[in-house]
Structures are given as structure tokens and as C-alpha cells.
Point group: C2
Chain length 161, copies 2
Amino acid sequence: MLKRQFAQHECPLAQALGEIGDGWTLQIIREAIYGTTQFEAFRANTGASRGLLADRLAHLTAAAILRKTKGDSDGRETFYELTQKGRDLWPVMLSLMLWSDKHLQDKDIVSARSGKTGARVTDVVAIDKAGNIITPQDTVLQPGKDISPAFKARIKVASAP
Amino acid sequence: MLKRQFAQHECPLAQALGEIGDGWTLQIIREAIYGTTQFEAFRANTGASRGLLADRLAHLTAAAILRKTKGDSDGRETFYELTQKGRDLWPVMLSLMLWSDKHLQDKDIVSARSGKTGARVTDVVAIDKAGNIITPQDTVLQPGKDISPAFKARIKVASAP
DNA sequence: ATAGATACGTTTAGAATTTGAACTTAATGC
DNA sequence: GCATTAAGTTCAAATTCTAAACGTATCTAT
């Protein structure tokens, strides 16, 4: 089991990174989102070693990001499927994919599209409860009621780019 | 320098994870987005060791996610600031923050809001060129013209959750 | 029923990475 | 000059990862 712990911040982002921010863990979640469910397939598609993969799958299962089930037609098989918590990481993966398309790639490998209209996903935007778009330039980080003075001091100068 | 390389996929997501998917790298990008610019501040806020931090900052600079500049008032200082490519990772961090709020936290530590209206960011959504929202349930991954047969076979069953 | 193959692990030694402390170098302040 | 600060570098010890072998249960074919 990975013992390394990132500095325990109250920062929600630091906590999320502590839970899934490990490089291999993200690769595994990517594969799960692509539809991979079995140990050997995760291995083949990520290149992770057996020991590491077993460890990370156990961690993701304990964190309720994946759910482990036994195959009922073939008793040898174990399936790891995304829970709702896991599926909720889709926007993270989608934004990464769009970033990659914009900055890392010129080839047209794969695109996310609407199943209904076929229109390509070009962007990911923040919205408020009413559905209004909030641009990155207009975004600020606001301390909440449970924030510590120390962390408040750090984020008060920060605003989104 | 980190030698470990994730399986070299043509997959844009795998490439993005290869570039920034390392755990410490993501912590550093988080800090940069929070406004951290100096070596010692990155160290204090992430808990990374000096050697590792120097290595990762060099990598992020080489990847043009950070830009390294010298302080002109104080010649000892070095600043690492986000480039546009780096700032474009904001949606990734914001989605992670929202995921954390939904699944990892019950405390009200910090929220992203509109500077203009004060409205809280509640969600991140995919949109097409015309600005129509494409829900995760309606999203499919479509192979592009430069895809290899092998990768095409893998994603053809995949659809977003 | 026996033999071989498959799926999912565990174990282990060796390799690679990370830590933590000490050390450099260069610039600043007193 | 002398202490301090910022940003690294160096290196031995600790941790983590890999790769190959091994283990166990289940399935398939003979």
C-alpha cells in the first residue's frame, strides 16, 4: 500500500489529490471510464505491475470509487466497475482530454460528442445553480465558514486564472 | 528526473496523464493555481522534498506549463508562474474541487464563485461550439481520422457515464 | 476424471525513486 | 565583513515499484 501522504490540507483540492492524485490511480480511473473492468485488462492497458495494480484496485474499492463483483457466468472473473462516485470523475477526465487536444496533440484521435446531435464537445465550463456560465476570468475563490485562519490567509490572494 | 513512463498510448488522456498525472506534479499545479510562485513556498505548501521539487519544477518549465523568471527587485528570488497552457488546467482543478466537495467533504472550506454576481459554481458541464450543454449521459467517444485500429477497437465500446 | 489453461492474485529480490539532512552558491541587509 | 535568505545540489538511507515466479480456484477439452 502506498504510504506516501501528501501534506494534509483542509483544502478540498489537496484532499481529492490525496485520494486519486497518484499517477497510477489516475491511469486506472481512465481505463475504468473507457470501459475496462478486469484485472488483466487494466494491466494490459496501463502497463502497471501486478502488485501495484492489486494495491491500487484495493484502494479504489475501499474508497468506493470502484465496486468489486464476481462474475456469475465464469467464477474466475472479478469485475471492477465504477460507482457513482467514480463516474462523477468524468468531468475531470473530460477536461484533461480537452486540455490534451488543445496543448499536446494535433492529431484527431478521439472526440467526445453528443450521442443525440453528434456535436463535438469543445469546452468544459463552470455554471451556477441557475445554469449561468461563470468564466475562469470571472471566478474567485471564496473562503467558507469552516475554513481555518491559516488556509484563509493563503487563498485570499488567489483567484482563478 | 522521473524515469517512469506510463504506457505510451495515442490516447490523449493517457498523454495528458503522462505529462502531468504524477502525484507531486498535480500538487504543484494546484499550488501554482492558488498563487504560489516561489520554491520555498511550494515546499511549505506541498511538503515535497527539495530534490523532487527542483526536478518537477524543471519538468513543468520544460513542458511550458510554468515559466521561470528572476526577481528584479531581489536577485535571489526565482518565480514560477503559470503560462496560458498551465492556466488552461483550471477546469481540471475546478472539476476535482467540485468532486471533492460532493464526495469527500461536508465542511464548507472554500467555494468558487462569480466575481461579478457572487453566485457559487455548482457544476462543470461540457458544451459544444454553439454553447449547448452536452450531459455526461449523452456523451459518446467517437474515433477520429488519425486513430489506430487497435485503439479504435478499445474505445468503440466506451461511452461516458 | 485428469490435464492444461485462464483469471486473479501474492511473494520476493533487485531496481528505481524519494526523503531528509547537510552542503553550495549567490544575493541581500545590517 | 558577517549573518541571513532563496534556490538549489548531493548523497546515504528509506520507501516504492518491477518483473518473474509461485499459488489457488475455476473452467475447458480430452
